[in-house]
């Protein structure tokens, strides 16, 4: 608990600095928030265009897919607001050797990396996600009970652990290879596979999506919860998310011990 409070206070301090620095460039600040909102609407637009030109995905009506997308927007908004700055900060730090300074500070390096992740640009996306979710729930005539809300937030928090584990694995790769110009673009492409419902995938890929690399935990399971179609398999996804997080921490500790620094 003490560890969490320590982390949160550090996160708040970092966020204040990032916010103050962002508002120094006012045009950039305002435009950035608007642009970010527009760019996160790409995926719903993608789905709209697919449904406009085809029959869509098996087992999903257009309104159901809007609910799926609204949860995705909300999820993306939260994740990018909490950790969106990491990609812009860490790669230059590793390349130019500034990361070594992190290792001298009285906090664990990983904590410092995530504490500096605040990104105000994505606040609009969270709002868009909430508004679109309400619209979709009304359109689908869905009544949400306490259990569904509880399950939604359970998936949400375990989903954050899974997301953190992916981030940590990618950080480990960048610490080993020092420089991958499009590392985070690759990560984005990888996690964009969560933008589609499980019915799109088949065979082994579906099992990977649902259980072993449970991208389904971010959007698919929460939307299934609201639609009343949740499957027991989701428990395995929660277990593997937690396992992935533990594995990522082990990988991180191993990597940081081997890290020798690239700059100076």
């Amino acid at each position: 608990m003490k560890y969490i409070i320590k982390y949160l206070s550090l996160y708040i301090e970092y966020s204040k600095i990032i916010f103050a620095r962002g508002t120094e460039f006012k045009t950039d600040f305002v435009l950035g928030i608007c642009i970010n909102l527009i760019s996160t609407l790409f995926t719903p637009l993608f789905q709209f265009l697919i449904y406009h030109n085809t029959r869509g995905y098996p087992g999903w009506t257009f309104d159901e897919i809007i609910l799926f997308q609204s949860i995705l927007l909300f999820w993306n908004g939260i994740i990018l607001t909490l950790f969106g700055s990491i990609r812009y900060r860490i790669t230059p730090m590793i390349i130019y050797g500034h990361f070594e300074l992190f290792l001298l500070k009285p906090y664990p390096a990983l904590l410092l990396i995530f504490a500096g992740g605040f990104n105000y640009y994505s606040i609009g996306t969270i709002l868009a996600g909430i508004i679109l979710s309400i619209y979709a729930l009304i359109k689908l005539n869905l009544i949400i009970g306490f259990i569904q809300i509880l399950l939604f937030w359970t998936f949400f928090f375990i989903g954050i652990l899974f997301y953190l584990s992916i981030m940590i694995f990618f950080l480990c790769i960048s610490f080993i290879l020092i420089y991958i110009f499009n590392l985070f673009e690759i990560k984005d492409r990888l996690i964009s596979l969560a933008h589609f419902p499980a019915e799109i995938y088949s065979g082994l890929f579906k099992t990977i999506y649902l259980i072993f690399f449970p991208l389904a935990i971010w959007t698919y399971y929460p939307s299934q919860t609201f639609l009343g179609k949740l499957n027991i398999i989701s428990i395995y996804a929660c277990i593997s998310s937690i396992l992935m997080f533990i594995l990522s921490l082990i990988a991180w500790n191993f990597t940081i011990k081997k890290y020798t620094g690239a700059g100076g």
Binding site: D28, I180, S202
Partner: protein
């Protein structure tokens, strides 16, 4: 001086060539997932084509956007913007090579490495996964020429955005606007044919389609992109855009340079 700059930057790119292996591997994984996604859509629709694309063409359209993004990618705008914020640009301007030439050298020098270590392996693996029945040597050459022109257009637009940073300090918002326009109107996430007809007509008059949509359609040898006349016509239009944006960059650069006052140091 320009060729020396190319060689320096080429050496820097080669130093990090391990990263290409990772990039190729992940691109292949994502390509396979895309095949699965579109296979599901095509089979659910029980149709041979969707908006004029066969299954193989659609998968390769999406696949080719991976190569194109690597072939055209460069970020002079970030380099200029960061230089302005940190004050390092003042020192940069003292060097005997102009900033446009230096940034161009930096951008173009990475391409031989990208081509050999990333494009070719990815391309060969993709061919092994789904053989492209539409591809021939001539189609491939046409694709490379169009992509080379796309790179120049992309570089100049980015340089233009970087020049705006003289006034706004940070170019991030403009970069993001450009990225949105390129992804949305350039056909990076879906072919433009998916858009309603009115939107397609507007996109037709903008340069963004030359980044993904046009090279990809040449690559998949889509109907309407097969003849030599359409190829020459496309090259002429792209060259006109390149000259126009180059003139705009030169004009804006001279204007901004007069107003430049170093912020850091």
């Amino acid at each position: 001086m320009f060729f020396d700059s190319v060689i320096i930057n080429l050496k820097i790119s080669l130093f990090y060539c391990k990263s290409f292996v990772i990039s190729v591997s992940l691109n292949v994984v994502i390509f396979i997932f895309n095949i699965i996604i579109f296979k599901s859509i095509y089979s659910y629709n029980q149709s041979q084509t969707i908006v004029g694309y066969s299954f193989s063409q659609m998968v390769w359209y999406i696949g080719s956007t991976f190569f194109i993004s690597r072939l055209i990618y460069c970020n002079p705008e970030n380099s200029i913007s960061e230089g302005i914020i940190s004050g390092e640009l003042a020192l940069r301007l003292l060097k005997p090579i102009g900033l446009l030439k230096w940034e161009y050298a930096k951008a173009i020098s990475s391409k031989p490495v990208v081509f050999t270590t990333e494009f070719l392996p990815t391309f060969v693996i993709f061919i092994y996964i789904i053989p492209p029945d539409f591809l021939s040597i001539i189609v491939f050459i046409k694709f490379i020429i169009i992509s080379a022109l796309s790179f120049h257009l992309f570089f100049l637009i980015n340089f233009f955005i970087g020049t705006l940073a003289f006034d706004f300090k940070s170019a991030r918002a403009f970069t993001d606007i450009k990225n949105i326009l390129i992804v949305l109107l350039g056909g990076a996430f879906l072919p433009i044919d998916f858009f309603p007809k009115t939107v397609q007509k507007i996109i037709f008059y903008l340069p963004f389609k030359f980044f993904y949509y046009v090279p990809s359609n040449f690559f998949i040898n889509k109907e309407g992109y097969q003849g030599i006349s359409v190829f020459i016509e496309t090259i002429v239009i792209m060259l006109i855009w390149i000259v126009l944006i180059l003139l705009l960059c030169t004009f804006l650069w001279k204007l901004m340079l007069k107003r430049f006052c170093s912020a850091g140091g």
